[in-house]
Symmetry: C2
Subunit: 188 residues, 2 copies
DNA sequence: TAGGCTTGCCTAGAGGTCCTAGGCAAATGA
DNA sequence: TCATTTGCCTAGGACCTCTAGGCAAGCCTA
């Protein structure tokens, strides 16, 4: 029998695709094994357990998201940067729902430090260079921005905005306007 | 043998307590059956399946949260109302993490309409009475508020704010100030 | 190129969760 | 009191997780 050539990285990559297809919570060791035409026991020499697999997936997604956002941010500042960041963030969540869900996993502090999780805050901070904000307002604003982006995207995906006819797109644009004017006049 | 006296409501209530103890994702039919000293098959005459159980839990949590928030809102307006709403929302999430997670479940439109999910938007709208906002700005603002509250609370719980020493409490208060001033001068 | 070593995927199997079908006994009420 | 309903049971299948141990493919070294 030819070997399937599994590695932790290939498994993680396949898990990411699987997540987007069937949802993060359905990313299972057996499903992944089926995908490679392999017995599920075979995966346990590459990943420790199902949780480990999901953590790897989360780390992958965080890195991808950070890349996207970082690209979007390049060469922009002020409201331009804010809008580019926000749209890149939201687009990633829509294009890769399973991966995006993965980014919300609670990682242990060690993994979080190693992963791109910290890069997010750093990049959000980069947006603020176009505004006149200094510590500790900067941290407060970073948390505010992150909260609003994540909150909007996750409520949108959960269908929380379907009850009202007002377009989700229009509200999003207004939210970005609101954030911009808020950052311009951050209450101190 | 004496009967355990199970009903869908008792199961849902117990599931809610279980969720807060062990996390929403660990609310399982078998765990619930163990809690009542009963075989898991016995629960299936009261609930359709595991998903049905979680939906009932979500509906319960949505109703509880709506009650809390509604109480907090009583007799207040303007920033007072905003702060009371936000704090009640956040407190519920902290006191009942499992239930709060349940409120984020994607409910089918039918269930969502019947449940208290719609009541949230309505109550958030009540906050805005103290501010000078009319449609469609009102809907945009409701979505914005909801996003920020949910985003903040869920990132906080996921540990996303631990990387920085700045107090989570302080940032929260500043976020409320920011929302207040944003609503006062909602960009149109 | 023959031997040994490492490593990848295997089989076997235990334990957990979800759920259905069908049975018996407790509660209800005529 | 006896029939009906209702509640919890046993049995069992399907799927997921994970461990232990085995065999053979591919890699080294001589």
């Amino acid at each position: 029998m030819a070997r399937a050539g599994l590695t932790a990285d290939r498994l993680t990559q396949a898990a990411a695709e699987l997540a987007d297809e069937v949802g993060f919570e359905n990313v299972t060791v057996s499903a992944l094994a089926r995908h490679f035409g392999v017995k599920d026991a075979s995966l346990y020499s590459h990943i420790r357990n199902a949780h480990d697999l999901r953590v790897r997936l989360a780390v992958l997604a965080l890195a991808e998201l950070a890349d996207r956002v970082s690209d979007a941010l390049a060469g922009r500042s002020g409201k331009d940067a804010l809008v580019a960041f926000a749209n890149a963030y939201r687009r990633y969540a829509h294009e890769h729902p399973g991966r995006y869900t993965a980014t919300q996993m609670a990682l242990d502090p060690d993994t979080a430090a190693t992963s791109a999780a910290g890069k997010h805050a750093e990049m959000t901070r980069a947006i603020l260079r176009g505004y006149d904000l200094w510590e500790p307002d900067q941290t407060d604003a970073v948390r505010f921005l992150h909260s609003t982006f994540h909150g909007y995207v996750s409520l949108e995906r959960a269908g929380a905005f379907h009850s009202h006819p007002r377009g989700v797109e229009a509200s999003w644009l207004r939210a970005l306007d609101a954030l911009d004017s808020l950052l311009r006049a951050w209450p101190s």
